[in-house]
């Protein structure tokens, strides 16, 4: 199998979708000749032409709003927003149309579209370039929210997102874009949306994360097993919404302890939702408070200090040990 970065894997998924289905098209700023500022759409413009790989004016609301219309018309737009911080410019179109048009028309019109956007910190960027605001979308009925963690699942999930009959917000962990390579099969592959993955089974504690934070989570896991003899069950959320509560509750019912790690802010963050679900579905098995290791409720800091804002393997290890020690 060829080794690919996440950027290359995503590019492959887009290429496959476009060659298989004429109604798939790409829209966004600089996605054409430039291939996107992260080069995810590289080469597609030459191959599929300007009408299917469209460099848009600089207006996110305009991009999402017109993509909604294209979806109503039966096309399948895959939109790139350059950084997730700029989806705020299109919040109204996402909340009022993308998420609701199918419901409003009682299914009369399709609303197949994917909003791809890089999220998260760790690349020494300026303000508004490191946001993790998946809560906004998870809290918005009508959307699905998907976040891959590596090249292989990124390709498979993007393929599934484009296949999906409902609108999908596809958050790409930009810190992972070129961070490592992974085997990505030549033949097309999908992963089901709405299903989380138990990366490793264990019996002492459930460690839950997603996206870019899966890297420190894995690192911490190795260390916790090897150095501390703690048998970690690691879960990669993959889909944030609809949340796979069943997998999470089953795991915690087994381990009794849980630590959740994400970059996004804490208040009403994804971890709070996971805690609420476990409270509902596995309350009687809980042996310790569930620990939230998350971004704080402050704006993502300027890049000389971002490393201290982001949870790292060390912090995860500490949180796990604390939770193990609780009685």
């Amino acid at each position: 199998m060829p080794q690919k970065t996440m950027v290359e894997a995503l590019n492959l998924a887009l290429d496959e979708a476009m060659s298989a289905d004429e109604s798939v098209l790409i829209m966004g700023q600089d996605v054409g000749v430039n291939g996107g500022v992260f080069r995810v759409t590289k080469g597609l413009h030459e191959q599929y032409g300007r009408d299917r790989v469209m460099d848009t004016p600089l207006a996110e609301c305009g991009i999402i709003g017109t993509a909604v219309g294209m979806a109503v018309y039966g096309l399948k737009p895959v939109v790139e927003i350059q950084f997730s911080g700029f989806t705020m410019q299109a919040f109204d179109q996402i909340e009022q149309n993308m998420a609701r048009l199918h419901n409003r028309t009682m299914g009369r019109f399709p609303m197949r579209m994917v909003l791809r956007t890089p999220y998260g910190g760790g690349i020494r960027a300026v303000e508004h370039h490191s946001e993790s605001r998946e809560t906004y979308w998870a809290h918005t009925p009508g959307l699905k929210v998907v976040i891959p963690s590596g090249p292989r699942n990124a390709r498979a999930l993007l393929a599934a997102a484009i296949d999906d009959p409902d609108p999908v917000i596809f958050y790409e962990p930009k810190a992972v874009y070129r961070a490592f390579r992974e085997d990505v099969p030549e033949e097309r592959e999908t992963l089901p949306i709405g299903t989380s993955q138990v990366v490793r089974e264990g019996k002492d504690l459930t460690l839950i994360s997603y996206g870019a934070m899966m890297r420190p989570a894995r690192e911490a896991m190795e260390d916790l097993i090897d150095e501390h003899g703690i048998d970690i069950e690691l879960i990669d959320l993959l889909t944030i919404s609809p949340m796979d509560g069943e997998t999470l509750c089953k795991s915690v019912a087994k381990t009794g302890r849980c630590v959740i790690v994400h970059e996004g802010h804490r208040t009403c963050g994804i971890a709070s939702e996971i805690i609420a679900r476990i409270n509902e579905g596995a309350f009687e098995y809980l042996e310790a408070p569930i620990k939230r290791l998350t971004g704080y409720d402050i704006p993502f800091p300027y890049f000389q200090t971002e490393q201290y804002f982001l949870p790292d393997a060390d912090d995860i290890i500490e949180s796990v040990r604390e939770t193990m020690a609780w009685e």
Partner: protein
């Protein structure tokens, strides 16, 4: 036809796009051009032959009937609302020529994206009136456009439907058919940035869309003088390169003439058009509104003499197509038609609380199934079916 054509007309995709091509700055002043004001039938019943769209007799009578039906529906809605059978709604009294004129030229394959004040146009497009009654009395079943009618559901959030309408037209251009899209909104909507974005996207993509702004002088209590600081809105189109025109929105023939040219341009690949239709909101903003708080009758009253239906009736009388009695007959037939629709509405109006989860997703995710079950058992407990 007098719709101005922008000087630069090359298609956006005709050559390799460049940034600042000329490295010598063009020092000639930019002439922004003129925007025509169009009226075919004036207040006194005089017709401008050169601009007359030339409808035949049966077409003329059909146009008249459609306007009368719009008004009959409107006034029936008001009665029903006052009697508690209808929710809050926005009357379109006085805007009937805009209503019918903007969709008159559309085919079944074309699309129309209405605002909340567009039910006259919706009826003309083929929405059964009972569905509109459902809609305005809070039943979900009133929202989806009927099968065979390529309309968007009506827009509640001001300006939010304009970009999707452009998107539909961008899809059409890509599919290379000859259809077009009409999208309708008010003078207030012109202040929303999203509408400016829509103008730009439409023009950059040369999408076959016609923007119809019904400038009726008010956005709830906000008069146009506080809404914008020019004497017209038509120039907004020109700013983005759109062919633009200002039409007497109380003149049905003017509206049709403008739309005929605009739709032809769209179908011929000449791109989008902006139509500012000058009209007046004769009635309440909505049934929750009290205009006496903020506007003088001295402003509204003169507009009564500009009534689009009376003006057109006078013209038809002059042409010997319609008598006073004939007009009365059209009106009473329209009333009867509306009352029949009300009967049908009353038969089908039924809240379906058990279905509120059914249409959010194409395939309801299992976690939402759990919520639905919780909800349904609440309904069971309350004895609601």
């Amino acid at each position: 036809m007098t719709i101005i054509t922008r000087p630069r007309d090359e298609a956006a995709d005709s050559e390799v796009p460049t940034g600042q091509a000329a490295h010598h700055m063009d020092m000639n002043p930019i002439d922004l051009g003129r925007i025509e004001a169009l009226q075919v039938l004036d207040e006194h019943g005089n017709i401008n032959q050169a601009r007359d769209p030339g409808l035949n007799d049966s077409e003329l009578l059909a146009v008249h009937r459609a306007m009368v039906l719009t008004r009959a529906f409107d006034s029936r809605m008001l009665t029903m609302q006052r009697q508690g059978e209808m929710g809050t709604f926005a009357p379109n009294l006085g805007q009937e020529a805009c209503m019918i004129g903007q969709v008159w030229e559309l085919t079944k394959q074309d699309w129309f994206s209405p605002s909340y004040r567009s039910f006259g146009a919706q009826i003309q497009r083929g929405w059964p009136m009972e569905r509109l009654f459902l809609l305005w009395s809070g039943y979900h079943q009133g929202f989806p456009p009927p099968e065979g009618v390529n309309d968007m559901p009506f827009s509640i959030v001001i300006g939010s439907h304009v970009l999707p309408a452009v998107g539909i037209a961008m899809g059409m251009r890509r599919r290379d058919d000859n259809d077009c899209v009409v999208v309708n909104f008010g003078d207030g909507a012109m202040s929303q940035g999203a509408v400016s974005e829509a103008f730009n996207f439409a023009m950059v993509d040369r999408a076959p869309v016609i923007f119809v702004c019904e400038n009726n002088g008010w956005a709830i209590s906000t008069p146009t003088k506080l809404q914008y600081a020019t004497d017209h809105l038509a120039g907004r189109g020109v700013a983005f390169g759109l062919s633009s025109i200002r039409v007497d929105g109380n003149d049905i023939l003017g509206m049709i003439a403008a739309m005929r040219e605009a739709t032809r341009r769209a179908r011929d690949g000449e791109g989008p058009t902006f139509v500012e239709a000058v009209t007046y909101r004769m009635s309440l903003h909505t049934t929750a509104d009290d205009p006496t708080v903020y506007r003088d009758s001295a402003e509204s009253e003169p507009w009564e003499s500009r009534c689009p239906i009376i003006r057109f009736q006078r013209y038809l009388e002059g042409r010997g197509l319609l008598s006073k009695d004939g007009a009365e007959k059209v009106r009473s037939e329209a009333d009867a038609e509306v009352l029949e629709a009300r009967e049908r509405f009353r038969k089908i109006a039924k809240a379906r609380p058990r279905e509120v989860f059914d249409h959010l997703y194409k395939v309801t995710p299992s976690e939402l199934e759990d919520q639905r079950n919780e909800y349904l058992s609440r309904l069971d407990r309350k004895g609601v079916d």
